[in-house]
């Protein structure tokens, strides 16, 4: 188990090195950061001076190694536009994005687990069909369009909810729904499939034969087992969602990491973009690693294979 964990951690680290290397080369090969920093009025001599000052004249590999070793200690350099440490900028925004991500995944679980369980109890019943309908519609609904339509209906027509900003908890309701519903179909299908499998197993029959109540069988015995893969998938989806928060945060003017990365891309602010890509990637890698290790711990056969 320990050897497996170490191996997986090493691979996870290697993945982050490659991801950051790719982003670094993509952004540095395509645009000249010296031009971005200098602005439109800068003369050729100014550009040359900036290039020297920031070290853009060095080979790209050397620049990457330099950036990478500093990034390991949490130093992502300085933003070209804000003229502030990238780590400070990110620290100021990450709370909003994490709040949104956690609320969204909880919302998704809150919808998908009860609905998936009900659907599994009576396959092909009305409620099962209803759950399937929700899943099929949910998958086809473009997230950002759904968000815009919610703004029109709940924000403008009925004036129930604020449509822009992040000052109160009310501001998080619509973004949470918009981001969360997208994970619902996948989580619900997995809950349903898991519950159907568990409910058909021998120990559930035993529990029924013992005369336990339906609720006790359902919650104490069945759901507890069926929910493990759902939680693992939810962890992975949480990683996806942080990446997907870009468009939702932009629409609702929710100033978190997603909004910051959109802003940074518009301004060609490379250090900021690289740092945010690396942070989103790290979240995904760490969450999948934890999900894998959890699975390996629960099912020791995995680590031997």
């Amino acid at each position: 188990m320990l050897a497996y964990a170490l191996k997986r951690t090493f691979v996870a680290f290697l993945i982050l090195v490659v991801v950051s290397g790719l982003t670094f080369s993509l952004s540095h090969l395509s645009t000249d950061p010296a031009l971005t920093i200098g602005g439109e009025q800068a003369s050729d001599a100014d550009i040359e001076a900036i290039r020297k000052l920031y070290g853009f004249d060095r080979p790209i590999l050397e620049q990457y190694v330099d950036w990478g070793t500093r990034a390991l200690s949490g130093d992502f350099g300085e933003s070209y536009h804000y003229r502030e440490r990238v780590s400070v900028l990110i620290a100021g925004r990450i709370g909003t994005t994490m709040t949104l991500g956690v609320c969204a995944i909880l919302f998704a679980l809150f919808i998908s687990i009860p609905l998936g369980t009900l659907a599994a109890m009576r396959p092909n019943s009305l409620i099962d069909r209803f759950a399937l309908l929700i899943a099929v519609f949910g998958q086809a609904l473009p997230t950002f369009w759904f968000a815009l339509m919610m703004i029109i209906v709940f924000g403008v027509w009925w004036r129930w909810l604020p449509i822009s900003g992040n000052s109160t908890w009310m501001h998080f309701i619509m973004p949470t729904i918009a981001l969360g519903y997208y994970a619902t179909p996948a989580l619900m299908r997995l809950t349903r499939a898991g519950m159907i499998e568990v409910l058909a197993s021998d120990y559930i029959r035993t529990a029924r034969a013992k005369g336990l109540s339906t609720s006790s069988i359902l919650f104490k015995h069945a759901l507890r087992n069926a929910i493990i893969p759902v939680v693992a998938l939810a962890a992975v989806w949480f990683g996806f969602m942080l990446g997907g928060s870009i468009i939702i945060e932009t629409i609702f003017n929710l100033k978190g990491l997603g909004w910051l990365s959109y802003d940074a891309l518009l301004r060609n602010d490379l250090p900021l973009v690289q740092a945010i890509v690396l942070i989103f990637a790290s979240f995904y890698v760490v969450l999948t690693l934890l999900a894998d290790l959890l699975n390996a711990y629960l099912d020791p056969r995995i680590s031997v294979k």
């Binding site: 490659v18 982003t23 099929v136 998958q139 473009p142 815009l148 029109i152 403008v156 891309l265 973009v273």
Partner: protein, 306 residues
């Protein structure tokens, strides 16, 4: 006595059933027609494809033709004044909205289809190679797949579009180079199973070359799942293009992309909400149709319960 006759007629019935047993093709046809959601998806998809194909004949106006004097006209359900001229009204520079929606189907289908071809090629080659050879090859390719999965697609795609300059072809290329992960994962696991089938082993034993085995023995096995993944990725690519264009990092004006139309409509969302509602509904129905078609295809071809 009566018991005996019923028994005989029963055996007769069984025999008759065996003789009249429908061929696999007839069975498949029956399953297809009985699968309602598959048929609904197929019909919507064919309708949208027909609209895209015959756009020049169906569109009442040129989608690029703008007339500032007739801007922001309301659609027919608001007032009938312009209904004859512009059924669904006009946009902010006076282009006919219906015509733009019709031509938009072309853009979405083009992007979905080309992206799916590029990513399908990359993913299938990687997945089949990893699954067939296993060992170190599999280790390396699995690492590549995991690396791709760790990248935040939307953000990196936006950065790539910025780097290469936003245009229709750049969007197709970038999405094609990003969305191959599901192809690779699925192809890899199916090839692994197919590799150990009896007839594949037999082909190896009689000395068939590796490329021959992969193309002629393995590939027919993965084809069913390949089509299903292809529909999922096509839907995915269409949604991502719309999102990219909506943020201004995708298809550029004046091309009538549904995502871009949503972007242009955003500043009028409070007073002309139909400008947002219409392209979004088109996107929704197209993606819904592709998903229903794909889900149905899986049910019909794999004869398994959902």
């Amino acid at each position: 006595m009566t018991e005996v006759t019923t028994n005989i007629s029963k055996t007769n019935a069984v025999m008759l059933d065996e003789i009249l047993e429908p061929s696999p093709l007839q069975k498949l046809r029956k399953r297809i027609f009985k699968h309602h959601s598959f048929m609904i998806g197929l019909i919507i998809l064919l309708a949208i494809a027909a609209v895209a194909l015959f756009a020049p004949f169906l569109a009442p106006h040129d989608p690029y033709d703008h007339e500032l004097s007739s801007r922001l006209m309301t659609p027919f359900w608001h007032d009938q004044k312009h209904a004859a001229e512009h059924l669904l009204g006009t946009d902010k520079v006076g282009r006919d909205y219906l015509s733009r929606l019709i031509y938009g189907a072309r853009i979405s289908l083009l992007i979905g289809f080309s992206t799916m071809l590029i990513s399908g090629l990359i993913g299938t080659v990687l997945g089949v190679t990893a699954g067939y050879f296993g060992g170190r090859v599999d280790l390396v390719i699995s690492f590549v797949i995991n690396t791709r999965l760790a990248m935040p697609v939307f953000l990196v795609a936006m950065a790539a579009v910025v780097a290469l300059g936003a245009s229709l072809y750049v969007v197709i290329l970038v999405l094609g180079l990003f969305l191959w992960d599901r192809f690779a994962v699925v192809m890899r696991s199916i090839t692994m199973q197919a590799r150990d089938l009896e007839y594949v082993k037999a082909a190896r034993a009689i000395g068939c070359s590796t490329p021959y085995i992969i193309v002629c023995e393995i590939f027919p096995n993965v084809l069913g799942s390949l089509t299903v993944v292809a529909t999922v990725e096509m839907a995915n690519a269409i949604l991502l293009e719309a999102a990219l264009s909506f943020l201004g990092f995708g298809v550029q004006a004046p091309i009538p992309s549904w995502g871009l139309m949503l972007n242009e409509a955003r500043e009028y969302m409070f007073f002309s909400p139909w400008l947002l509602a219409l392209p979004g509904s088109c996107l929704f129905f197209l993606v819904l149709a592709i998903n229903l078609f794909g889900d149905g295809l899986r049910d019909v071809t794999q004869e398994r319960e959902r």
